[in-house]
Each structure stands twice: as structure tokens, then as C-alpha cells.
């Protein structure tokens, strides 16, 4: 019966369930709903910016639209989707474990997300916070106080959830691998989760510190960051970015892992440079901790400090470059199956390159002084977090959907989704580079009329992006209910999660899985590629051929 998928009754997804697979899907669906909400807010922003005047929403509401858009997309979509959803679903399966190390803690971490999200969205209806997702004081201390406090409390809850998740990921990866699996036999997604979890553990507490001090300033009238009482607003910026720059890597590292696992399967070739990719994740994790002040080149930081942070930031291009070149070398010479998962993966690589190149540019102090806080930076972060993280998350969804549901997503709809998404994304964000260089600052509800036409292109692009979500939603819902049923391993993949039924039974494996090959040994032997055979049969076949 092992090849027969194990389907969890639908109501279990609404309970305090400790099965990592249920939790992973709970994370994925919840965060995707927040993604849609964040997208609606972005739609509001782009609608307002279709004309140079303020005519769609009031200035205050406009500011709260982009404040909540940024906060939701980061803290309720990309961070919990990359780590919470994929980390929870995949790690135990990939390392042959029966569950996460701390299943109950895991469920608690998930169940902190809905109240955190409700608090954040509730703030919009109480008194919309309007100081941006960075919430720099003194503005955040004087504008919409009650909304700002809800924003702070929400982030404290979400940050705690993130820390609990990271403890779980690290312990699970280090302690619960199936007997015989060394660190170097793990899929690269696990390496990237080690790197991301370390970052979460080191940096999130500092954000909590900053937010608690900010709250004291608002509630108790202290003056940690309030200059009228002798406080220093720049100290908040240091503390905030000590978390929020690593947060960028927390958002991209799991996706790096996803890409490293999706590309070899659909290119039918081993990953190129396993060790280099694994170590570069750790290098990015370490370097990511010492670059935060590159967000503050115009904040009055001393010249020598700016030089240090400039060089440290630019060096990150090296491990990132290693990954990009390795991925390109992985697909080169393979047998590329251009399905939705592969399209989104290759889309990820090509879009992330643009974000990476503009990232090196904004690291350069003299250039950053010109483009800091302009649309150039808006373009840059979206190429990294949308063209990067979101494309990668989509690739992961298309790739692992058969594992989660036992059914494939529909390919024509998936390709439509990709094409619309790719065109809309570039139409929306590519022109923003020009806007920023020419003189349009970010976070403005009204702008110089000379920028009208280009802003309208961006707005049309954002509309296309919104439309592109429709085929995906139809596809996901329809395929989940009545999509084409597939066997345990429709992609003929080699990583362990595919060596059990789809969806996997409770406790994942009937017995500790045996490693019959490395995770990426494509082109080496063809014994176990037949997805129609039950897992036991495959196992006995392989054990018969044991090397």
C-alpha cells in the first residue's frame, strides 16, 4: 500500500496538528493568503501611482498601503513560506526522519502566525501604521500610535514564531538524519536551511530589542530613539538593519535551496559543484551578518564605516556568483524538461542575476548616495524578493505539489501563469530603475508629471501580475481536487522525499530509508527511476544491486 498516497482529512488542517506535513501545508496555504492580501495592497499603491496627483486614496492611507504591503510580504509571506512551509514539509522527508525534532513546538510556531497576521491587518482598521515597513523613528513614534503598537506586537509574535522554527530546523537537520546519511549527502535545501536558521537565531532577537525599545518610546515616553529627549534615531536603524538585512538572506537562502533541488531533477543532471553551493550558503550567512549598515550610507555614518560595509557587501557577490554559475552549469548539457517548475527556476536564475548586479551597484557608496531611498532601490529589492524569492517559491510549489497532494498541477495553466508573471514582473519593475536614477524617490503618493508615462507602464505591469495569479489559483484548487493522479515519484527524482508514497503516510517512511544514491546522482545508474513501481519493490531491487 505504500504507493497509495495517504490523504489527510481536510478538517485536520484546521487543528493543532503536530505532523510536520500538515504544518507545512498549513504554513503554505496561510502565507499564500497573506501574499494575496499583500498583493491587493500593492495594487492599491500602483493604482494611486497611475497618475501623478493624489486621487485614489488619501495620503495617509497611501502610506499605510505600502507600509502594510512591505510588512506582510516579508513577515507573513516570504519568510514563513520559505522557512515555515517548505522547511517543515521537506526537511524530515529529505533526511529520512519521521517528523521534526520538536513537533509540538512546531505546531505552536505555526499557530502564532494567524494571530500575528490578524493583529497586523487589524492595525489597518484601528489606526493605519504609516511609517513604512522600516518604521524609522521619530516618524513611527508620532504617527498613528495605536496602529504602530499593533504593528510592533505583531512583529514580535511573528519573530518569535520564526525563532521557534529555526531551533527546530537546526536540531532536526543535525540530529535526525537517517542512519548513514552524512551532512554531505543531504539535499542542498537542507544546507540552505542550516544557513537561514543560523541567521534567524542570531539576528531576530536584535529586531525584538529594537521594537521593544520603540514601543517604550511610544507607550512610556522614554527617549531611546526620540531626539527631543536626547535619544538617537540612528541607533534604531542599526538595530533594525542588524535583523532586516540578514532577513533578506533568510528570505532568499531557502529559495536557493529549492532551486538547487529543482534544477537537477528537470535537467536530468547532477548539481554542479555540490560542496561549493553548500559552503557558499554558509558564507552568505556569515557575511550577511556584517553588512547591515549599507542601508545607512546617507544616515550620517562615518566615512570609514561606510567603506567597511561597502566592501563586506560587495564580497557577498562572490558566493552568490558561485551559486549562479553552478546552476547555469547544471542545466548546461542536460536534458531540460521545460515544465512549469523548470520555467520558474530558470526565471528565478535570470531575474535574480539582475537583482544581484544592481545589488553590487547599490553597495557602492558614491552611487548609493544618489539612488538610496529611490525607485532604483524599489526595483532592486523586487528583483531580489519577487524575481528571486517568489519565482523560487512558485518553482517549489510546482515541483513538490505532486508530493503534497499525489496530483500534478496542470501544465498549460502553469505555463500561462509563468508567462504572464514573467512579463508582468518585468514590465512592473524594470522601468523603476530608470525612475530612481532620474529622480523619483520611493514612498511618495504624488510625483513629478514627467514620470507619468513610465509609472503607467509599471502600473499596467502590476495589473498583469495580479491577473497572472488567477490561472495559478484555478490550477492549484482544481488540481488538488481533481488533478491528474501520479505515482510516488513522477519526476523520477533521487532525493529521499520521493522514495515514499505521495502524499507520504504519517511518520513518512515505513522503515528508515536506505540511501541508494546521492541526492543528485543523475546519469549514473537507472535502476530506480520507474515511478510506477511500489517503493518496496524499488528498495529490494536496489538492495539486490547494492554496491
Amino acid at each position: 500500500m505504500a504507493n497509495q498516497g495517504h490523504h489527510t482529512p481536510w478538517w485536520k488542517y484546521f487543528t493543532f496538528n503536530t505532523d510536520h506535513k500538515v504544518i507545512g501545508i498549513q504554513y503554505l496555504v496561510t502565507t499564500f493568503i497573506f501574499y494575496l492580501i499583500g498583493g491587493v495592497l500593492a495594487g492599491g499603491v500602483r493604482t494611486e501611482l497611475a497618475t501623478p496627483e493624489v486621487d485614489f486614496v488619501s495620503r495617509e492611507i497611501y502610506n499605510s498601503l505600502f507600509t502594510l504591503h512591505g510588512t506582510i510580504m516579508i513577515f507573513l509571506w516570504i519568510v514563513p513560506a520559505g522557512t515555515g512551509a517548505f522547511g517543515n514539509y521537506l526537511i524530515p522527508l529529505m533526511i529520512g526522519a519521521r517528523d521534526m525534532a520538536f513537533p509540538r513546538l512546531n505546531a505552536i510556531a505555526f499557530w502564532m502566525i494567524p494571530p500575528g497576521g490578524a493583529l497586523l491587518i487589524g492595525s489597518f482598521f484601528v489606526e493605519p501604521p504609516q511609517a513604512g515597513w522600516t518604521s524609522y523613528p521619530p516618524l513611527s513614534e508620532i504617527a498613528s500610535n495605536s496602529g504602530q503598537i499593533m504593528w510592533i506586537l505583531s512583529l514580535l509574535i511573528l519573530g518569535t514564531s520564526s525563532i521557534l522554527g529555526a531551533v527546530n530546523f537546526l536540531t532536526t537537520i543535525l540530529k535526525m538524519r537517517t542512519p548513514g546519511m552524512t551532512l554531505y549527502q543531504m539535499p542542498l535545501f537542507c544546507w540552505s536551511m542550516i544557513a537561514a536558521s543560523i541567521l534567524i537565531l542570531i539576528s531576530t532577537p536584535v529586531l525584538a530589542g529594537a521594537l521593544i525599545l520603540l514601543m517604550f518610546d511610544i507607550v512610556a515616553g522614554t527617549a531611546f530613539f526620540n531626539p527631543t529627549g536626547g535619544g538617537d534615531p540612528v541607533v534604531y536603524q542599526h538595530m533594525f538593519w542588524f535583523y532586516s538585512h540578514p532577513a533578506v538572506y533568510i528570505m532568499i537562502l531557502p529559495v536557493f535551496g529549492i532551486i538547487s533541488d529543482v534544477l537537477p531533477v528537470h535537467a536530468r543532471k547532477p548539481i554542479f559543484g555540490y560542496t561549493a553551493i553548500a559552503y557558499s550558503s554558509l558564507a552568505i550567512s556569515f557575511l550577511g551578518l556584517v553588512v547591515w549598515a549599507h542601508h545607512m550610507f546617507t544616515s550620517g555614518t562615518p566615512g570609514w564605516l561606510r567603506m567597511f560595509f561597502m566592501i563586506a557587501t560587495m564580497i557577498i557577490a562572490v558566493p552568490t556568483g558561485i551559486k549562479i554559475f553552478s546552476w547555469v552549469a547544471t542545466v548546461w548539457g542536460g536534458k531540460i524538461e521545460l515544465n512549469s517548475a523548470m520555467l520558474f527556476s530558470l526565471g528565478f536564475v535570470s531575474m535574480f542575476v539582475i537583482g544581484g548586479l544592481s545589488g553590487v551597484m547599490v553597495a557602492s557608496v558614491p552611487f548609493d548616495i544618489h539612488v538610496h531611498d529611490t525607485y532604483f532601490v524599489v526595483a532592486h529589492i523586487h528583483y531580489v524578493l519577487f524575481g528571486g524569492s517568489v519565482f523560487g517559491l512558485y518553482a517549489g510549489i510546482y515541483h513538490w505539489f505532486p508530493k503534497m497532494t499525489g496530483r500534478k498541477l496542470n501544465e498549460p495553466l502553469g505555463i500561462t501563469h509563468f508567462v504572464l508573471n514573467f512579463i508582468g514582473f518585468n514590465m512592473c519593475f524594470l522601468p523603476m530603475h530608470w525612475l530612481g536614477l532620474q529622480g523619483m524617490p520611493r514612498r511618495v503618493a504624488e510625483y513629478d508629471p514627467q514620470f507619468t508615462f513610465v509609472n503607467q507602464i509599471c502600473s499596467v505591469g502590476s495589473l498583469l501580475l495580479a491577473i497572472s495569479t488567477v490561472p495559478f489559483l484555478i490550477n492549484a484548487i482544481w488540481s488538488w481536487i481533481g488533478g491528474k493522479q501520479v505515482g510516488a515519484n513522477p519526476w523520477r527524482a533521487l532525493t529521499l522525499e520521493w522514495q515514499t508514497a505521495s502524499p507520504p503516510p504519517e511518520e513518512n517512511f515505513l522503515e528508515n530509508p536506505v540511501l541508494w544514491s546521492g541526492p543528485y546522482d543523475y546519469g549514473i545508474d537507472n535502476v530506480h527511476r520507474d515511478s510506477d513501481k511500489p517503493v518496496e519493490e524499488l528498495l529490494s531491487e536496489v538492495q539486490g544491486n547494492a554496491r
Binding site: 502610506n63 521619530p138 557577490a317 536534458k335 557608496v365 558614491p366 548616495i369 531611498d373 536614477l437 543523475y522
Partner: protein, 325 residues
């Protein structure tokens, strides 16, 4: 690799280099360069654009070629060749980016130094720099401003290397407030809502804010500095092209952040002197601060400007104001 293949690769490499070099110089993405600092930043940006264009075409080109050449044929269930690495190739693509980013870092460092970013007087050590206090002003036409170094200057962009330690030709105190910039010329007491500066001179701004963070940005000059309540940052620059340029607030400062704009007017030194004299004369006859703050007649949002003040300072109900608009 056979010979025709290497020739194709070689030609592709040459074409890619030529395209990158051409586009790096001719992208036309930057606005007019109107200060001495702007061409420095632009040359750095051009260098980075050249490298970025090359890498962009290289990576995207390889991906597109791979998709075309290595598509799985229908019915082919075999795998690609089991190549899992190549040490020399990996060393090359680690070493080349390392050299490139170090080169960009070094170039950025040079440019930043040339702009005055590493002037010790502007790097936080200005407070106790005895040399500065003793240095007499260099011979310049404009009257010597009272230097305020040594008080509470925080970091910013200071004097370019040749001018370190020397006083600026024109000093202006800049204050950002919701939602306007106030410019005070300490030597003459002039207070203005627009910034008048003489072309070709060394200008020093002491930038601060009275309420929340703002950022002083002139895109055509490629300079920006945050205005931080409670501390003063200096920004030195050299306007070159005569004309009007926008001064934009680049740091979110509240609801009307998007309209916190004014102008910098770069004039010939004679015109600047004339403006200065007129301003001094008018302030002697008219002590009303508000008349000196009068924004330009050209600014279309004068009425809006005033209403904003009412709203912010007098606490008139937001809703009432919205109904009025």
C-alpha cells in the same frame, strides 16, 4: 573543443565585450550632471554598468542557449552526462568575480574620496580637530562664514582632498521640517525657502531636521544626506551648471512626503551676490519672517504649501481640510 567552436566562442566574447563597453557609456540613464561630483559618480556608474551588462548578457545568453540546445526530446528518458563539478572552472568563476568586486570597491573608494567622503572633519572626528580651529580661511570672494566645526557636526560628505581643512565659500544651514526646507545663510542672516548658490564655488550645508527624518537630495548633483533631528550632518559640493534643479525629500517623513520639494538655484557669482544684497536689504526693511520664507512664484503648490502648514502646525482637523480640497 574543436576549432570552429572556439572561433564562435571567441567572436561571441568579442561581441559581448563591445556591446558592454558601448552600453556602459551610452545607457543615458542618468539625469543632467550639474555638479563637480556628478561626473565622478557617473563614471563609476558607467564602469559598473559595463561589467553588469557583460555579466547579464553572459548569464542570460547561456540560459537561452541551454534551453534551445539541451531541450529534452520527446520520449527521451535518459539522463544527461554525470558531470558534478570542475575544479578549475569553479576556481575561475570564484576568482574573476572576486577581482571584479575588489576593483569596483577600490574605484568606489577613490571616487568617494574625491567627493570628500573621507574628509576627517566630516567623519565624526571633526569635533576635536585642532587644525580646523586654527586654519584661516583661504582667499575667497564671498565673506567668511562663521565656521561651526567643532560643535556638533556628525558625519556626512566633507571637503574633497585638495580642499581639506579649508573653509567653504558659502555655508548654509539647512533645516528639514514637515514639509519644507528652510535655508539659513549664517553670515548674512538670510532665511529662504529656496537654496541660492553661486556656480563653481565650494558649498557647505549643515543639515539637520526639527521633527522627523528627512533626506536632502539633488538628483542632478548625485548627492544626498539624511536630515536627522538632534544632529547636524555636513554635505559639501560644487555646483557647476547654472540653472534650477529640484531639491527632493528622499526619506519618508509623513503624509505629505511626496510634495516636500523645493529648488536649488545655481547662479553666476555676480547674480548670487546681487540676490544676497537684495535679500539683506529687504530683510532690513521688513522684519516679517514669513515674507522671507515666501516660496517661489513658480511653485504650483503654494496654496497647498500654506494649507499644509495650517494643518500641521495649527492642528486643523484633517477631514475638514480634505473636504476643502
Amino acid at each position: 573543443m574543436n576549432i570552429p567552436n572556439s572561433i564562435v566562442t571567441l567572436i561571441a566574447g568579442i561581441v559581448l565585450t563591445l556591446i558592454s563597453l558601448w552600453y556602459g557609456q551610452n545607457h543615458g540613464l542618468m539625469p543632467v550632471a550639474a555638479s563637480e561630483e556628478a561626473p565622478l559618480v557617473d563614471s563609476l556608474f558607467n564602469a559598473m554598468m559595463t561589467i553588469a551588462t557583460g555579466l547579464f548578457i553572459l548569464v542570460q545568453g547561456i540560459i537561452v542557449i541551454a534551453i534551445i540546445r539541451f531541450r529534452r526530446r520527446r520520449g527521451d528518458t535518459s539522463d544527461g552526462p554525470p558531470i558534478d563539478g570542475n575544479l578549475s572552472l569553479e576556481i575561475v568563476w570564484t576568482a574573476i568575480p572576486t577581482i571584479m568586486v575588489l576593483a569596483i570597491a577600490l574605484y568606489s573608494f577613490e571616487i568617494y574620496n574625491a567627493m570628500g567622503g573621507l574628509d576627517s572633519a566630516a567623519s565624526g572626528s571633526g569635533r576635536n580637530n585642532p587644525e580646523l580651529a586654527q586654519k584661516p580661511g583661504s582667499a575667497i570672494a564671498a565673506p567668511m562664514p562663521k565656521e561651526r566645526d567643532g560643535e556638533d557636526l556628525a558625519a556626512g560628505v566633507g571637503a574633497s582632498p585638495g580642499r581639506e581643512g579649508s573653509a567653504a565659500d558659502v555655508v548654509v544651514d539647512v533645516k528639514g521640517m514637515q514639509y519644507a526646507w528652510i535655508f539659513t545663510y549664517p553670515d548674512s542672516g538670510i532665511v529662504a525657502g529656496e537654496l541660492h548658490v553661486p556656480a563653481g564655488k565650494d558649498i557647505k550645508l549643515n543639515i539637520t531636521a526639527s521633527d522627523v527624518l528627512h533626506a536632502f537630495w539633488i538628483p542632478q548633483f548625485r548627492i544626498k544626506q539624511d536630515a536627522i533631528p538632534g544632529s547636524t550632518n555636513q554635505l559639501r559640493f560644487h555646483p557647476q551648471k547654472i540653472g534650477d534643479y529640484p531639491i527632493i525629500c528622499a526619506e519618508l517623513c509623513g503624509a505629505y512626503h511626496g510634495v516636500m520639494k523645493t529648488r536649488i538655484i545655481v547662479e553666476s557669482p555676480e547674480e548670487f551676490q546681487q540676490w544676497r544684497q537684495e535679500r539683506i536689504a529687504s530683510s532690513e526693511t521688513d522684519n516679517n519672517q514669513l515674507s522671507m520664507l515666501a516660496p517661489s512664484e513658480k511653485t504650483p503648490s503654494d496654496a497647498e504649501y500654506a494649507s499644509r502648514y495650517v494643518e500641521e502646525k495649527m492642528g486643523i482637523d484633517q477631514q475638514v481640510l480634505q473636504q476643502l480640497h
